[in-house]
Structures are given as structure tokens and as C-alpha cells.
């Protein structure tokens, strides 16, 4: 635990020591604002809730989370600092978790900084703030899912661009796993129960009720186990590829 905290603090500090943090936060805020007001027509709807804001988060994360995740391990391997990290008296799992949590909290900070939208909607009407808080938590949880995939992929390569592209593709498949586009493709040659299983992996399906502020335990368990799975794979891959 102590080691995880140490790694966590170092990592989080390093975001703010470079322009990465500021560029990311600014782009995150601009994009989420643009999606909410232009695509989601927050004003024109005439309803006091933030669903236009949360509705686009999966698409926002699809590109922004891999951009944060790509450097997690690829950079460490490229610069050689992984040799230092892996010869310090800490376990691989502690490093993986510490680095992951730092990136997740960083995304959390970006998410919290969208609060002006929340203030706006409270100024304009009387939204259910409990629902909004729940939706924020749901969105944060989904970001954690994207991030765990990205962290694992980042450990597979020294090249951040490759890590980014592969992560976007995998996240895209997870997003759309429940959509007719993907399901129709599998329906043709797979038994129904496998098609159902694929459909149940969909980010969009699990996020749909979270985004409405309904915290269903099944959705939470889904994202938590997804994160656990990818981080476990991440640990194994770091162990295998650290010295390549």
C-alpha cells in the first residue's frame, strides 16, 4: 500500500511537471463543452438535466483516455526508466496499480473541472443533483475501464502511437459490442448465447443507465471486473516484456 502511494504520487506529480496535464485538461473541457452544447443542444432541449453532457462521454473517452494511457508503460520502456523501477524493492503489481490510479485520478480531476456545466444547469433550472452526482460517478467508472485497457496495451509496445491506435480500436469494439453493427456480424456464424455474451460486454449498454444516474450494481460489477481483468493482464505483460 505504501509503495502504491509512493508510485501514485510520483506519477501524478509528473503529469503536472510537463504540459501534458494542461493540454489534456483544456482539450477535455473544450470537447465536453462542445459536445454538450452543440451536439447535445443543452439549451434548446429546455430540460434541467445533464444527460446531453453525459451521453457523449463514451465518445469523448474513446480518444482522450487512450491519449493518457499510451504513455503509461510505453514511455517507461522507451526511456529505460523501467529498469530502474523494476529493480526497486516493489512488486510489478504495485507499480501497475500506482500508475493506473494516478492516471485515473488525473482523469477524475479533468472531470471535476467540468463543474461550470453543472453550475450552469443549476442556474437555469432545478435539476436532480443526486442523479447528476451518480452520473458523474458512472462516467468516472467507465473512464477507468477505458484506462485499464489502455494501460495494458501500453505495456505491449515501446511505441506510444501504436499503443494509442490499438487502444482506440479495442475500446471502440467494447463500446459498440452491443450495437447491431457488431452483433449482426457475429449473429451469422456464432451461436446465440455467445452473441448474448458479446452483447453483455458492451460499454454503451452498461453505461446507459449509469449516465441516467441509476447505479445498478451489475453495471458497477461489470466495470470493476473489467478493470481488474485488464490490470491483471497488464501486470503479466509488464513482467514478460519489461526487458525486451
Amino acid at each position: 500500500m505504501r509503495n502504491i502511494t509512493t508510485i501514485f504520487k510520483r506519477e501524478l506529480g509528473s503529469y503536472f511537471a510537463t504540459p501534458v496535464a494542461y493540454v489534456f485538461i483544456v482539450i477535455f473541457l473544450i470537447m465536453s463543452g462542445a459536445m454538450t452544447f452543440y451536439l447535445g443542444s443543452l439549451y434548446e432541449r429546455g430540460q434541467a438535466d445533464l444527460s446531453p453532457f453525459f451521453q457523449y462521454h463514451p465518445w469523448l473517452y474513446l480518444f482522450l483516455v487512450p491519449a493518457i494511457a499510451m504513455r503509461l508503460w510505453a514511455e517507461e520502456r522507451k526511456s529505460g526508466s523501467i529498469e530502474l523501477l523494476m529493480t526497486l524493492p516493489i512488486s510489478v503489481g504495485e507499480s501497475v496499480i500506482g500508475k493506473y490510479l494516478a492516471a485515473w485520478v488525473f482523469i477524475g480531476i479533468s472531470l471535476v473541472l467540468t463543474f461550470p456545466i453543472w453550475i450552469t444547469i443549476n442556474y437555469l433550472g432545478n435539476p436532480d443533483n443526486g442523479v447528476i452526482l451518480a452520473a458523474y460517478l458512472g462516467s468516472f467508472l467507465m473512464a477507468g475501464g477505458f484506462l485499464a485497457i489502455g494501460s495494458c496495451i501500453s505495456a505491449m509496445t515501446k511505441n506510444q502511437v501504436i499503443a494509442f491506435i490499438i487502444t482506440v480500436v479495442i475500446c471502440f469494439l467494447f463500446l459498440l459490442a452491443g450495437s447491431p453493427l457488431v452483433l449482426n456480424f457475429f449473429k451469422v456464424w456464432m451461436p446465440q448465447n455467445i452473441v448474448d455474451a458479446i452483447s453483455s460486454l458492451s460499454f454503451l449498454t452498461h453505461y446507459a443507465s449509469l449516465a441516467k444516474g441509476v447505479i445498478d450494481l451489475r453495471d458497477v460489477i461489470y466495470f470493476v471486473s473489467l478493470i481488474g481483468f485488464w490490470l491483471y493482464a497488464n501486470t503479466i505483460i509488464v513482467e514478460m516484456k519489461k526487458a525486451d
Binding site: 505504501r2 509503495n3 509512493t6 510520483r10 506529480g13 509528473s14 511537471a17 510537463t18 526511456s79 529505460g80 526508466s81 523501467i82 529498469e83 530502474l84 523494476m86 529493480t87 526497486l88 524493492p89 516493489i90 512488486s91 519489461k242 526487458a243
Partner: protein, 240 residues
């Protein structure tokens, strides 16, 4: 105490280290010599637990590096080849981070920080990001990191590479001053260093140990008195 038994490392078809065995006792400073690509760094990476051996075993202070990696790593200070570190950090932040991982605390931590900063003359660059330091200073930061927790075992991969003559001298002094109760392995291409600091030298080429002796012992095998000539003779197979 380091015990290395029948250590080998293969990368695909290439055998980087082949059946290397040796022991190093406290008080010994072992110089690890050999041409480029001989397998020096690979051996050091296996001792420090970064690479796992294809066959053979490494024991550090009684702990098998593969079985009890954390215990072994606690007792090792390591300067990897090229002194990698976190470039966006400043040396002081970096030492703080290493100190936390090494579980230093209280007065001890303050004293250790002070000591390594003074010994490696880092005081002028403490608040400059490591990325922007010169090569020699980067190396010194890496050395500071390696000795911060006053480890029983020091593994230094080309510690004086890129240092100015004064710093080379000071780093040798530093190693001599901490040597008496420690196990130290250093790799180097500067053969005069062998006489200056090493109590023993291992010469390796193509992954195999060619000679393992004191500097005087190596001299007695050769007609020449110069370490460079001895090195050339041994690694080109003229004497063994």
C-alpha cells in the same frame, strides 16, 4: 555476498551469457571487464533481478533473486547502463522518491540525502529537471540514487562513463571509501580504473568468463605490465 551459479542468458538464438559462476564477498570490489557486447550488462541485469536467467541462479545476501526478489532488491543499489531516470523530475524530487521507496525516514533520510548530494556535488543542480542536465550530471544523479540507502551490494554499470576527470577521481574515491564492508561490482572500459579501485577483475567475452583474478594476478600472466595489453591478449585468445 553474491553467489552466482552457472548463469546463462539466451536471447533467441544468441547466447549473451554462458555458464558464468563466481562469488563476491564483502570488502571486494570486482571489476567487470570485456569488449562491447560481452554480456556485462546482461549479467548485471540478472543480478539485480531485471532479467530472469535462462538457467542458473543468483543469490544476494542469502536471498535467491528469482524466489525472493523484493528482499534481494532491498539490499542492492543499482546504476543501470546509461543511468536512466525520470527526466521530468528534479534531482531533489527524484531522491525524495527513491528515499520513500527505500523506506528511509526521519533524520536518517535527511542525513542520507545530504550525504549523497554532497558526495556527488549535486547541490547546484538540485532544482533543475534531470532532462536538462548534462550527461555527467545525469550519471551522478544515477549514482546518488544507487547509494542513497547505503546498500550492502552495489552494482554499477559504467559509473564513470561521461564524467570529467575530476569527477572520475572523486567517484573512485567514493567507491574506495565505501568499499571495506560492501560487495561492489562495477563494469568499465577504463582499464586504469581496475588498478585504482578493484581488488579483483573478471574478464568476459562472448558471454564466457576468460579470467578471474586480482590485478596483480592478471599481470603475472602476461609479458606486458599494461592493463590494456593484458586485456587485449586475454580477449583475443592469446593467453588464458
Amino acid at each position: 555476498m553474491i553467489k552466482i551459479k552457472n548463469l546463462s542468458k539466451k536471447f533467441g538464438h544468441l547466447t549473451a551469457v554462458e555458464d558464468v559462476s563466481f562469488e563476491v564477498k564483502p570488502g571486494e570490489v570486482l571489476g567487470f571487464l570485456g569488449p562491447n557486447g560481452a554480456g556485462k550488462s546482461t549479467t548485471m541485469k540478472m543480478i539485480t533481478g531485471f532479467l530472469s536467467p535462462t538457467t542458473g541462479s543468483v543469490e544476494v545476501c542469502g536471498f535467491d533473486v528469482s524466489e525472493k526478489p523484493i528482499e534481494a532488491k532491498k539490499r542492492i543499489g543499482y546504476l543501470p547502463e546509461g543511468a536512466p531516470s525520470y527526466g521530468e523530475m528534479t534531482p531533489i524530487q527524484y531522491l525524495e522518491f527513491i528515499g520513500q521507496i527505500r523506506q528511509l525516514s526521519g533524520q536518517n533520510k535527511i542525513d542520507r540525502n545530504k550525504e549523497v548530494i554532497q558526495k556527488l556535488h549535486l547541490d547546484k543542480v538540485l532544482n533543475q529537471s534531470i532532462d536538462t542536465l548534462s550527461k555527467g550530471f545525469k550519471r551522478r544523479v544515477g549514482l546518488a540514487q544507487a547509494i542513497l540507502h547505503d546498500p550492502e551490494v552495489l552494482i554499477l554499470d559504467e559509473p564513470t562513463d561521461g564524467l570529467d576527470p575530476n569527477q572520475k577521481f572523486e567517484v573512485r574515491e567514493l567507491i574506495n571509501s565505501i568499499a571495506p564492508d560492501k560487495v561492489i561490482i562495477i563494469s568499465t572500459h577504463i582499464l586504469s580504473e581496475v588498478d585504482a579501485i578493484c581488488s579483483r577483475a573478471i574478464i568476459i567475452a562472448d558471454g564466457k568468463v576468460l579470467a578471474d583474478d586480482t590485478p596483480e594476478g592478471l599481470r603475472s600472466k602476461s609479458s606486458s605490465d599494461k592493463m590494456d595489453d593484458i586485456f587485449r591478449e586475454i580477449t583475443s585468445g592469446h593467453i588464458s
